[in-house]
């Protein structure tokens, strides 16, 4: 699995698990980029076979429902879904 890195201001460690096809995931990326935070993301639907299984297991740890977008902040806080206010509060 290869995480894509997006440069920006350091607002802590932000990892976004997303789907390349999902509208809310697109909005989430746009919001983080609007805020200007640096983050890493992976499009889980573009992963295949064993690599996909591995990344699904990672998501499951933070969000048992394995739904997208899932944002993990500082290996601690999880935000599931495009929750605009919550995301702004956490990293804005």
């Amino acid at each position: 699995m290869v995480m894509q890195h997006v440069e920006g201001q350091d607002k802590g460690k932000i990892v976004l698990f997303a789907l390349s096809t999902c509208g809310w995931c697109k909005k989430t990326r746009a919001l983080i980029e609007d805020i200007g935070a640096s983050y890493d993301y992976v499009y889980v639907d573009l992963e295949k076979g064993k690599e996909r299984e591995e990344v699904v297991e990672m998501v499951k740890k933070w969000n048992p429902q394995v739904s997208f977008p899932t944002i993990v902040i500082n290996d601690d806080k999880t935000i599931v879904g495009f929750k605009e206010d919550e995301i702004k509060e956490a990293i804005g």
């Binding site: 789907l19 096809t21 509208g23 809310w24 639907d45 573009l46 429902q65 997208f68 495009f82």
Partner: protein, 170 residues
């Protein structure tokens, strides 16, 4: 990023017109944010190419049609989500309340059972005859259309009258 050709703008446009016509003729509304809606429809076309079926773009499809059956768009969860949240999980289909701007569209919780729950459900589905109805049956007083679901639809898919014309039948 992807190992397949993306659908062209013309393909997306004609798919949009088809889905819009079909959904409106059966009482559903597409999101009036055309750009957002076309992106979702484009993603469904991508999934058709990728998996052979139009899996929900906002959920992780397995590629196995049986496993994905409940999330082939329109998914099994669209109608209950329209009733509870005024939108389907993707925000592709929305209620008239949201369409008219009375309510704001937001991302909604996932109703589909988790992968672990789905495994359990699969293991438990044996053949059984139930004497109890699992859902109430609603009857459109105008055209007699019957449907078994928690609440009547917003608009009768047959004769297009509003949901308030439905009576609880069984």
């Amino acid at each position: 990023m992807s190992d397949f050709d993306e659908p062209t703008a013309t393909e997306v446009d004609s798919y949009y017109l088809k889905v819009k016509k079909d959904s409106e003729s059966s009482g559903y509304h597409l999101n009036p944010d055309v750009e957002f809606t076309k992106e979702l429809l484009k993603s469904i076309l991508i999934n058709i190419t990728r998996y052979g079926h139009g899996a929900c773009p906002c959920r992780l499809a397995s590629g196995d049609k049986q496993d994905d059956m409940d999330i082939i768009c329109p998914c099994d969860y669209r109608d209950p989500d329209l009733v509870d949240y005024g939108a389907c999980y993707c925000g592709l289909y929305i209620s008239s309340e949201i369409s008219s701007g009375e309510k704001k569209l937001q991302s909604i919780p996932e109703r589909r059972p988790s992968p672990d729950e789905r495994e359990k459900i699969k293991a438990n589905t044996g053949f059984k005859i139930s004497t109890e109805l699992s859902k109430p049956v609603w009857r459109c007083k105008v055209c007699g259309y019957l449907c078994a679901r928690d609440k009547p639809p917003e608009i009768c898919p047959i004769c297009k009258v509003s949901g308030e014309r439905f009576e609880k039948f069984i």
